[in-house]
Amino acid sequence: MAWQWFHRLGSPRWFYWKTGAWLPWLAIASGLLLSAGSLWGLGFAPQDAKQGDSYRIIYIHVPAAFLALAGYYIMAISGAIGLIWKMKLSYLVMRAAALIGAVLTFISLFTGAVWGKPTWGTYWVWDARITSMLILLFLYIGVIALSRAFAREQVADKACAILALVGTVNIPIIYKSVDWWFTLHQPATIKLTESSSIDPSMFYPLLTMIIGFYCFYAWALLLHTRNLVLQREWRTNWAQQALADRTPAADR
């Protein structure tokens, strides 16, 4: 009985109609949290003593980096679920997570570079965290490229799941090695990894933004997965009805 929801979740049709009701709530929550958090961070959080106002980029940089990394695990776990339980739907979640994760990784890299210019005087430094993020972006791009290379989507699904899992094993190793590499080459003048405690007046807007990004991630993931569901099932009767915005009586 307890596993019923799990098996149901494997049905694209059930998933599609069930999650339709969640979308507006997630949209409202992410919209509210993100705009409130940005406004708070941009206008009301106090200025940073050392970096001035450019530090306000932290309110998008850190949440995006958080989710970029968490997104890889979401992608890999969905892939693993697909391989183990042969659940078609989880492959679609994996594909959606790959694209969203790549975009979030790009955001964190871009905002980091823009933040770097006024703070360290250069857009790009080969800092341990930036380099790891860049490699994470390459990992995402690899999965996306592989998913588009196959003529048969079922084969692409499984291949991507394996690649995502191999990447998961590698991520901690990559992070550790890049960390080590950076301490080896660290220029004495630039110190980027400063673990200082953040003041509550700066932390609460950050927390708001992090929660907002999580909501946005869930929203985008559902939107993309639902679309992939329709795309793959579009020959079926229910998907055609869904595309015509008619809810069949059985699914209401």
Binding site: D53, I60, V103, I107, F110, S201, H224, R226, L230
Partner: protein
């Protein structure tokens, strides 16, 4: 908690860091919006493809019917 800037112009200038902050926020907004808009556009494309398919099927069906009507005569 109070507004940290004297006015709107001051807010936009961000004490000289304005361009960096606003470019970062702008690009993020664009990227996030793209993530939401892409599924909407794809859904529309799917809908159009489905309609085209249905129209073709309809035409084929009516052509067959006409043929069936024409044959006995």
């Amino acid at each position: 908690m109070e507004f940290q800037f004297a006015g709107l112009a001051d807010f936009l200038a961000m004490n000289g860091h304005g361009p960096y902050v606003w470019i970062a926020y702008g690009v993020t907004l664009l990227a996030l919006a793209g993530l939401v808009i892409q599924p909407v556009l794809r859904r529309r494309r799917l809908q159009a493809a489905l309609k085209r398919q249905q129209r073709i099927q309809q035409r084929r069906r009516s052509a067959e019917k006409r043929k069936r009507v024409a044959e006995p005569a």
